[in-house]
Structure formats: structure tokens, C-alpha cells
């Protein structure tokens, strides 16, 4: 597939609808999570071949720990299995994998080890950077950045948006241009709050386990047709917002 102009540089997906997908089929919630794996792999590959260089997936939020212990446990195991299954392929395709969040001690050590290994293994890849928001909370990241600023003893007058952003975790990540939230839900849910400031949002009705490459293309197309102005009335453009950063 040729690389299209007007593509977003950084696409993020809020993977919503696993539970509903399972309920529609009278399956357990965990079956929905298992079905999500295929969608994840499909989207990573489709985004990479479309020429998107930054992809973020919202896998597990700090609030998700409130789910039943059994479901959380199975989710953790599922993530571990998925990582181990797809690590060589991701590495071979030049995808750099990073995990955003990962602060909770409840993450099993074996999973933490695999995640560290995956990050180590793919750390030199540059084709695409895949950020997986795992045990992530947008507000927590902002609080962390504030703490980091205070620890670095930065004088108040020197704190600007740019300096603040440098203290966020993975500060080299560019702003998100397009957020795709599946299953028709229209909420932010504490996701990368700082980075989505100027993002375009699309809310396809499809549930995440059914989300495939074609759906991604539709979303990319919708993005290209939108006029991004970043609050300016004079220059309607369809750029990626790089000029503003």
C-alpha cells in the first residue's frame, strides 16, 4: 500500500467493546478479551504498512484494577501470552514497543519481565513506535511530570508547556493526531490527557474485537477529510499539527 499524504503521524486507539462483543454472543467477558488479540495484531500491521510511525493502544487503565479479580488475572495472562506469541514478528517488522504506565506492584513479576524483555528486544527499531498504555492514567502522568519538575528544582517562571512536556513519561512521543474509540462510546477516560489536546476523535460503532484494517482505513480517511485548524480561522489545513509543536 502506498503511503498517503495527509496521514496522521500519531494514531491512538481506545479499545472498547470487548465485554459487549462477548455479551452479544453469550460468552464470558474474557472471551471478548481473547477475541481482541486478532484486532490488535491486524491494526498494528495495517498502521505500519500505511506508514503511520506512532501508534498507541489503550490496553488497561489504572481504573481497570477495580474489575473482578478473576477477570484481571485472566487479562494479565492473556497479555503475557500475546506478548510472547508476537514478540518475534513485531521485532522482525521493525516495531519498537514501549509500555506506558506499568507502575502498579499488582502486575505479576513474570509479566513485568516479559514486558521488559520485549522493550529491550525492540529498543533499536525505528519503523514504528508502538506505545501500549498499560496500567495507564493520563492524570497520573501529569502528576508525575509535576513531581519530576519539582525534583529538578525548575523555577516557576521557566515552566512552559514545552518544558512541562519534557518531564512526561516518554517525552519524545509526539502529540496524538487521531484517536479512535470503538463501540460508539464518546469519552476520554483519562487517556494520555496531555497528548490528546489537539487530537481529532472518531467514534466508529464497531466493537473492538471486530475492528479490522478496513475500519482503520475508514478512520484515516475521515481524518484526512477533516479540516484541522488548531483554533486558527485563517489557515484551514489538513496537516498533522507538527508546526504547532
Amino acid at each position: 500500500m502506498e503511503i498517503i499524504s495527509g496521514l496522521p503521524r500519531h494514531v491512538a486507539c481506545v479499545m472498547d467493546g470487548n465485554g459487549r462483543w462477548a455479551a452479544q454472543r453469550s460468552l464470558s467477558r474474557t472471551a471478548g478479551h481473547e477475541a481482541a488479540e486478532a484486532a490488535v495484531i491486524d491494526v498494528i500491521e495495517a498502521a505500519r504498512s500505511a506508514g503511520i510511525t506512532w501508534l498507541s493502544l489503550y490496553a488497561f487503565s489504572t481504573e481497570n484494577w477495580r474489575r473482578p479479580a478473576g477477570e484481571v488475572d485472566i487479562l494479565m495472562r492473556l497479555v503475557r501470552r500475546t506478548i510472547r506469541k508476537h514478540a518475534p514478528a513485531l521485532h522482525a517488522r521493525g516495531v519498537r514497543c514501549r509500555f506506558l504506565g506499568m507502575a502498579d506492584p499488582r502486575i505479576p513479576p513474570s509479566l513485568a519481565q516479559d514486558i521488559t524483555d520485549l522493550m529491550t528486544l525492540t529498543s533499536d527499531n525505528r519503523q514504528m513506535t508502538l506505545t501500549i498504555a498499560f496500567d495507564h492514567g493520563g492524570r497520573r502522568d501529569i502528576v508525575e511530570a509535576a513531581r519530576s519538575l519539582i525534583r529538578a528544582a525548575v523555577p516557576a517562571e521557566q515552566v512552559t508547556e514545552a518544558t512541562f512536556a519534557r518531564h512526561l513519561p516518554y517525552s519524545d512521543t509526539p502529540d496524538v493526531d487521531l484517536v479512535i474509540r470503538t463501540s460508539g462510546e464518546q469519552r476520554i477516560s483519562n487517556f494520555m490527557l496531555w497528548q490528546v489536546a489537539y487530537a481529532e476523535w472518531v467514534f466508529p460503532q464497531v466493537l473492538w474485537p471486530d475492528f479490522r484494517a478496513t475500519h482503520l482505513w475508514e478512520c484515516l480517511d475521515a481524518y484526512r477529510r477533516r479540516q484541522r485548524r488548531f483554533g486558527d480561522v485563517r489557515q484551514p489545513t489538513a496537516t498533522t499539527g507538527e508546526g504547532l509543536r
Binding site: 518475534p88 513474570s110 519481565q113 516479559d114 524483555d117 529491550t120 528486544l121 529498543s123
Partner: protein, 472 residues
Amino acid sequence: MNQTTAEETVDVFGPNSMLRRLANEARWGLAVTRATVLEAAHPQIGAALIGNSTFVTHPWRRLRNTVVSTQRMLDPDRHVRSREAARLNRMHARISGTDPQGRRYDAMDAEARAWVVATLFESAVAMYRLGGESLDGPTMEQLYTEFRTLLALLEGNSDQIPATLQEFWPYYDDMIDHRLESTEAVRVILYRLFANVPAPPLLRSHPAVWAAGRAVAGPVAAAVTIASLPESFCRRVALPDLPGARALMHGAYLTTGFATRLLPNSWMHIGSFMSLLDSDHAGGPGPWEDVRRKAGQAAAMLRLLTPAPDEVNQATRSADQFFAEVLDQTGDGYLAWPDLAAMAREIATRLDLDEQAEERLYNAYAAWWRELQTNLDADGDGRVTRQEYAASAASLPSFGLVKVADVLFDVTDVDEDQTIDAQEYQMLFRTAFHRDLLTGRGDGYSRSAFVRQFLSFMSGQQHSVAYNSLLS
């Protein structure tokens, strides 16, 4: 004595110090191993090693401590040198006892300490010789003077080894022919240590890989070391002369010799090797950094490709494992004073404690040991077996252990603000050859939290990555 003082005033550890250059070369490791075997054959040193040293059970930690200590002893700053000498002396003053034949040993014995320096000097000379570059007269004289100064720094004088190089060689030959014995320590080093070296922490998650490599490398290392020893010594201690071992040994020394001369300086620098083994040791990106990163990636790949082991709960470890990895520091299967002394020694070294703090720490450990002895040593043989420990450890009030935790808190809390902050935490748990990054708590530890964590680790109830890196 006068002559010694004169030696100290001449700055032999100046910028042209041969010894410092030597100690920073990675091949120095070959020579030190060889010297260690010769030292272990000295009855006093051999007995002290067997009775007190942790080198068989924790060789990597021991290696790190030795490298750091050597660098301090050769530091350009005179104060660093004398401080380290004082620390080593305090440490050795605590090591004395009786060997199984009922002979006394004492790590402060002047003759034995002179022998250590003598073997290091002779092994350095042998290293150059076997590496294809023999030292000329004046250079060898200079090296000898530097070694004598090193002894003087430790001992206060260097009267125990001959004043001149001409007198040294007869002394050395005489020691080998008449003083050395076939000690247990020699056999332990050559046959047990090399064959059973535990994996360095970088490879700890791949026991199979390590065991396979060691099956080949262990005997080779033993053969190389034996072949490099003086022939009269091998005869006396009855060491085997394996076919091909000499060629292998020459090959090893020649290769490292060439590598030292031909490769860029920093490649064969000991620090580079340390950083290869221990990701936290390296200050900045060294020449091996790329190699290490690639190796890390390969290891990560390997771990991800090997089938996932069953979910083992790492939080609980068996009492046996805890006993072997943490409590029994000397690896003799019993818990006795040398084990606790080794823990105190490790912590004192890690924190570089001054005399007073060190004394408090040892006293706390000694008090704990007395308590263990009274409460646990059921058969009264002066040591605690695994069964004795397991039988009653859980029910102990363990006042002694609380005291240890308390003192540990005090000595770690350098700025005395009653909180162990991130930096102090790092000092205590700075990992030795351990690849896991420690996630210290940003807001610090209060005394009660610290004591609680220490107690639950030491009673084997809670697994802690941090304490594991310190004591196992």
C-alpha cells in the same frame, strides 16, 4: 621501619604506577586467580578462607568487592588509600579461629599477609612472561617496590618480604618448598569453585545455558590455572598435569596479552568487563556497551522464545532456598558466626562504614548470633543446622534481629533525618552484578517501615529483590 617510611614518601602510586595500570587490565584476573591458589596453599590463609570466606557461594559479589577495594588501595589520593587500608585491617582483624587440625589461624598474621603480596607480585611477573613480554630489570624492580609499598600500607611496614628483588626469589622458592601445604582450600578453588560457579546475575534466569557453558569452561579454567603454577608447587600439592593444558594456558595468556596491547585501551579495561557483567556498574556508554546491549537483546529474545514456565509465585520461597542463598553465606550447610560476620562485612563494605558504625553493626550481628545460639542450637554444637533454624525460626521473638535492623537503619541513614531517602536506599541496595533495576520508593522509608521490611525478609517470609541483591 625507617626505610618503609621513606618508601611511603616517594609517591609510588603516582601517575606512572605500574600496579594501578595492571589492576585496571582485565587479564590481571588470570594472575589473581593463579595467586589465589598459591595463597590458599598457605595453611593459615587456607584455613581462614575455608572457615570464613564467601567466595565459593557468592563469587561474583566477592569479585566485585575485590575490584573496588583494589581500586581504592591504588587511588591517587593518599587519604582514600589509607582509609581503605584501615577498613581492610579492621575486616581482617575479625577473622581468626582454629582449623580442623586444631591449629590457630589469624587473618592479621604478618607472615601470611606478606605471602599474599608476594604471590600477587610473582603472578604479575608470570603474567607478563607467559603473555610474551618479559619485564626488564628496572621495570621489575619498580613493580616490586610498588608491591612492597602496598604491603607497607596495609601492615605498617614491609619487613616480612625481602627488601630486594635478589633476595625475593630464594624466599619465594623456599616458601613453596617448605611452607605451603596441600590444603582443602586449594582443592575447593580448583575443583569446586570452577565447576560450580553460580551464574552471574545477568544469566541467572538461564540456568541451563550457564550450566552448559560452565561444563566446558570450568575444567578449562582449572586446567589453565594449574598449568600456570610453578612446577615445584604442582609436585608438592600433587596437582594433575593434563596433556595439552600447557598449550591451552600459553594460548590464554598470549591471547589476553595481545588483546591488551593491540585492542583499544578501554576495551580491555576491567571496568568494561564489569559493565558487561553488571548493567548498573557502568557509568556511561563504554566500548562494550553495544555488545552488552546486543547481548541483552539476545537474552530477551531467548527468554521470550523459551516456553513460559508455569506461573511460580515468587513471593514465597522455600525455607531451604532461603537458608542456602541468604543465611548460609559460607556455603558449609550450617549457620554459624562466620555466616553472620560475612553479612555484616558485606554491608560494611557496601556502605563504606567508618570504624564506629562498623563496630555497632558487628555488635548487633554478634548479639543476634548469641540469641540464635541460645534459642536454636538444640544439640549445642556451636552452629545452627537448617532443621534447627526451620523448626523454631518462625516462633522466635528475635529481639536480636530487630536490633540488627535498627542499627542497619542508623548506618544507612547517613544524613540522620530519620528517613532512608532514595539516595541512601540506592547506596545500600546498589546492585552487584544484578540486572534488575531497583525501583526505590521516592518518598523514602521511615524507621518502622524499614525495620518491618527487613524482618519479613530475614525471616524468609517475604521475597525482596532489593535484599536479595544485597545478601544472596
